[in-house]
Amino acid sequence: MADFLANMTSGSEDQNQDLLAHVLLPVAHEEDALATATALEPYAPERVTALHVVEKGEGVPDKTPVEQSEEIAAESYAAVRAVFPDADEHTAYARDIVGAILDAADEVDASAIAYRARGGNRLMQFLSGDLSLKLVTESDRPVIALPRGDTAE
């Protein structure tokens, strides 16, 4: 189904790819999902797929039980749907979050990845591996950094 729709958009005679034809929206949790989706809303994307990457240990126990991670994913999708009622969802399981985002973008054939930087100070960004930097440097398709707005986290 996802492919079918994607083909309809990209296959139409003007190959003039619309940046917002199909936006992949990685979200971390309910609050983040709502804020991210709200930030994207004014630009009226044609199609949105919400992505939640369940962080896996791949060889070591996860930080959180899988069951809990999946609950968080479900909450996040619901939050995205509060803004984009027809948003699709996609769940990935990986240790490498950025890698999983890029794979997912491939898989759903997204026209762009839109995300909201997580913030945090330098030390924290260093410790959690600066995701923003990795995402923009490693992506093979447009990456849209959404404004963070005033939401305090």
Partner: protein, 760 residues
């Protein structure tokens, strides 16, 4: 691959390193000195005995773990089997046990750290405690941030440790001297009576294996890998302990073995001070000191990984307890940035810090308190295993089963509690305090929150007649009352039947003090994807909303809480079952048309489904209900019990007149009347009109039924619903009767498990 498989990424090696990594830190690096001091060289036997006790329990954990690969481990099994009261004890025991164990590992870390760097003595804290507090804070911080790097390191640490220890064993073997081992006073200077108290002390070195079960849901192929990892890691560490402790005691006489850093000391003695290389190469000095230093680093790594794994495991237990509402889910909130269960980690961390500061001067207390609490959990776990087997819950289907049942679990429980007897009063009192605290917590907080009920209490309550009153009374007294009344789910599909179905559900909910859950299940043809269907949701929404708003209004008349839900599904009828399960419904009310709708599709699955009802089912044939009087034909039985409940609810909430009908053969009217009167009284329908008819049952129901506004018929045998669904039910009564008919079916005890465990 399904999502579920994607989420499983721990192989056998990873699972084993969790077990070995947790256990080895304590046994080898921390305890040998202290333990040798209490028992002499026979302490090796103490380690082996500890290993055997752990092994018996490991077998039971393996069976439970393969039956229920769920986050939470021991707590989870006990809560399911024995109910939330014991669940609270187990959860508290597991949690506090891990906190004590972590404090113990931190002290071990502090002991070796103090070898390296001089630590100050502050106030009432010894230098070792300072080191331990420092370590504790670091471990908590690392888990709080959830730095990924720590994870990968665990496997590496375990392999480094095993290599270091192998080298040490070889070097130690070279300088091994039996005379040193035997010492001046023989192998058992304190007599063989000292063996078991020493086992009690060193048992903390075996506390790692059950942690594998707490991450069972992440294991690949848990049916195979879980038992191998659990049993294997216990076997491996027991052998390692036996060899290395023997080596240490053969290198250094036991009275001289260091209490704080035995391995570093033994390594310094085992390795020669310098190695002379052949020819012109220079002599390498300082080998012994270097070996001691390497051992110290190894010890720091080992204790760190033990503590780390324990903190993580405790968060899992908190999560499982939160899921059952035994603790508030506040504890399990995930940090928005680090995606860690930070509150749980902080609370556990605070406990660890307190234990280190308050009790850290005596490492024995920490070690034994951790063991006592874990042993209590192990004993309960063995009882849980027996309950699962005896209650004969068919869905309890472990891939691995303990050998020699029931000897193994009984032995496990006896050995676990037996070992507690060799602990000192202070640790037993401390642990007892936590057990009491858990009980107080259960009765004050958890009891009216948790919806869970154990298999045991269901078993007792379902055999009310066969078991002594005291037992049933006791089970009732401690049973949870958190589930304030039942959930009555209504599966709506047709606006014309909405009001009748809601009326029935509302009356039932009001009578039982429950709530109504009105669902609109929208069947989407297989050809249409759910996404497309949701694109048409505007139309759908309007239809659904109308239906559900009407439902709300109708339920409002009964003044019962109502929730509404629209569910898109490819599988109309089966979805009813799924929804009933996932919403923990106690009763499902649906229309006959809705059930017939599914006719013909996937009979195999339907058979399976309908033979295994998740809860009571009420199927209404007829659109308009104008309830004034109901007829309940009965011949006794499970589903008639349900019919009686419905009749009672209608009588009490709507003032409906109830008539009971019993059909007998010619000439048996007297005994029939007797039966009916008794049945009516038993079901609190003594005031109903009692009708005894003779002749053909169906004809009688038909004739009598005409005069009533509703006939409630209980399924006389299992599978009634499946026959309705497939349209093979030859029940002319329903077709011929103008009066609406409510068919009731109550599941047999078989599907109890499903209510407890949800869908598997």
């Amino acid at each position: 691959m399904s999502d579920e498989e994607l989420a499983k990424d721990l192989g056998l090696v990873s699972a084993m390193t969790i077990g070995i990594g947790t256990m080895i830190g304590a046994g080898i690096f921390v305890l040998p000195g202290v333990a040798a001091n209490t028992a002499g060289p026979v302490v090796v036997v103490s380690f082996v005995v500890g290993g055997l006790i752990a092994m018996v329990n490991a077998l039971s954990v393996s069976e439970l773990g393969t039956a229920m690969p769920k986050a939470g481990g021991g707590y989870f099994y006990i809560n399911k089997a024995l109910g939330p009261m014991f669940g609270s004890i187990a959860g508290m025991g597991d949690w506090m046990g891990l906190a004590f164990a972590s404090a113990f590992y931190c002290i071990g870390f502090g002991q070796y750290l103090a070898e390296f760097v001089p630590l100050p003595e502050i106030a009432f804290l010894s230098p070792i405690q300072i080191g331990a507090l420092f370590a504790g804070l670091i471990f908590v911080a690392v888990n709080y941030i959830g730095a990924k790097e720590t994870g990968g390191v665990q496997t590496v640490i375990v392999f480094i440790l095993l290599s270091i220890l192998t080298v040490f064993a070889i070097a130690g073997f070279a300088s091994f001297d039996y005379a040193t081992l035997a010492g001046e006073d023989g192998l058992a200077p304190f007599g063989t009576n000292a063996i078991l108290p020493a086992t009690a002390l060193v048992f903390v070195s075996f506390l790692g294996y059950a942690k594998i079960a707490t991450v069972a849901e992440e294991l690949k192929n848990p049916g195979r890998n879980l038992p191998i990892a659990i049993i294997g890691s216990v076997g491996i560490v027991t052998v390692i302990y036996a060899i290395l402790v023997t080596t240490m005691l053969g290198v250094i006489p036991w009275p001289d073995l260091s209490l704080d850093a035995p391995v570093a000391q033994a390594a310094e003695v085992s390795f020669p001070a310098s190695i002379s290389l052949p020819g012109p190469l220079p002599t390498i000095g300082g080998v012994a000191a270097a070996a001691g230093a390497v051992m110290t680093v190894g010890a720091l790594l080992a204790t760190a990984s033990s503590a780390n794994a324990s903190i993580l495991a405790s968060a899992r237990i908190n999560f499982a307890m939160g899921r059952d509402k035994i603790v508030t889910n506040w504890l399990n909130e995930i940090h928005p940035n680090y995606a860690t269960p930070y509150r749980s980690i902080l609370v556990t961390g605070a406990l660890i810090i307190v234990f280190i500061a308050a009790l850290g001067r005596d490492i024995e207390i920490l070690a034994k308190a951790a063991s006592v609490l874990h042993l209590i959990v192990y004993a309960l776990m063995n009882v849980a295993l027996i309950v699962f087997r005896e209650a004969d819950v068919p869905e309890y289907d472990p891939d691995f089963t303990v050998p020699l049942y029931p000897i193994t679990p009984i032995l496990g429980a006896v050995l676990s509690l037996g070992l507690v007897a060799f602990m000192d009063a202070i640790e037993i009192a401390l642990s007892g305090g936590f057990v009491v605290a858990a009980l107080v917590w259960y009765f004050l907080y958890a009891r009216n929150k948790t919806p869970q009920q154990g298999v045991l209490s269901e078993y007792i309550r379902s055999r009310e007649d066969e078991l002594p009153d005291q037992v049933v009374g006791a089970a009732d007294a401690v049973a949870p009352d958190g589930n304030d009344g039942p959930t009555i789910m209504v599966a709506l599909s047709n606006p014309r039947t909405e009001s009748s179905l809601i009326t029935l559900a509302g009356a039932l909910a009001k009578h039982e003090g429950g709530r109504v859950l009105a669902t609109h299940i929208v069947t989407v043809p297989d050809q249409t994807s759910l996404e497309t269907a949701s694109e048409n949701r505007e139309q759908l929404d309007t239809a659904s909303e109308k239906l559900l708003t009407a439902a709300k209004a109708d339920a409002g008349e009964f003044d019962v809480p109502i929730e509404t839900k629209t569910i898109l599904s490819h599988r109309g009828f089966e979805e009813v079952f799924d929804a009933a399960r996932s919403n923990d419904a106690d009763t499902v009310v649906m229309g006959y048309g809705g059930a017939r709708f599914a006719g013909g599709r996937a009979e195999g699955t339907l058979d399976e489904l309908t033979h295994d009802l998740p809860c009571d089912f009420l199927v209404l044939d007829g659109q308009d209900l104008d309830l004034s009087d109901v007829l309940v034909p009965t011949a006794g039985g499970r589903s008639s019990d349900l019919s009686a409940e419905i009749a009672r609810a209608l009588r009490d909430t709507l003032g409906v007149d109830v008539s009971l009908l019993h059909v007998v053969d010619e000439g048996e009217e007297a005994s029939g009347r007797e039966f009916l009167t008794e049945w009516g009284t038993d079901h609190q329908l003594g005031d109903a009109e009692m009708l005894v008819e003779t002749g053909d049952v169906e004809t009688a129901i038909e004739q009598m039924g005409e005069g009533y506004s509703l006939v409630i018929i209980g399924a006389t045998e299992r599978g009634l619903l499946s026959r309705i669904v497939r349209g093979s039910l030859v029940f002319d009564t329903i077709d011929r009767l103008e009066t609406p008919v409510l068919l009731t079916e109550r599941p047999t005890a078989r599907s109890l498990w499903e209510r407890l465990f949800g869908r598997r």
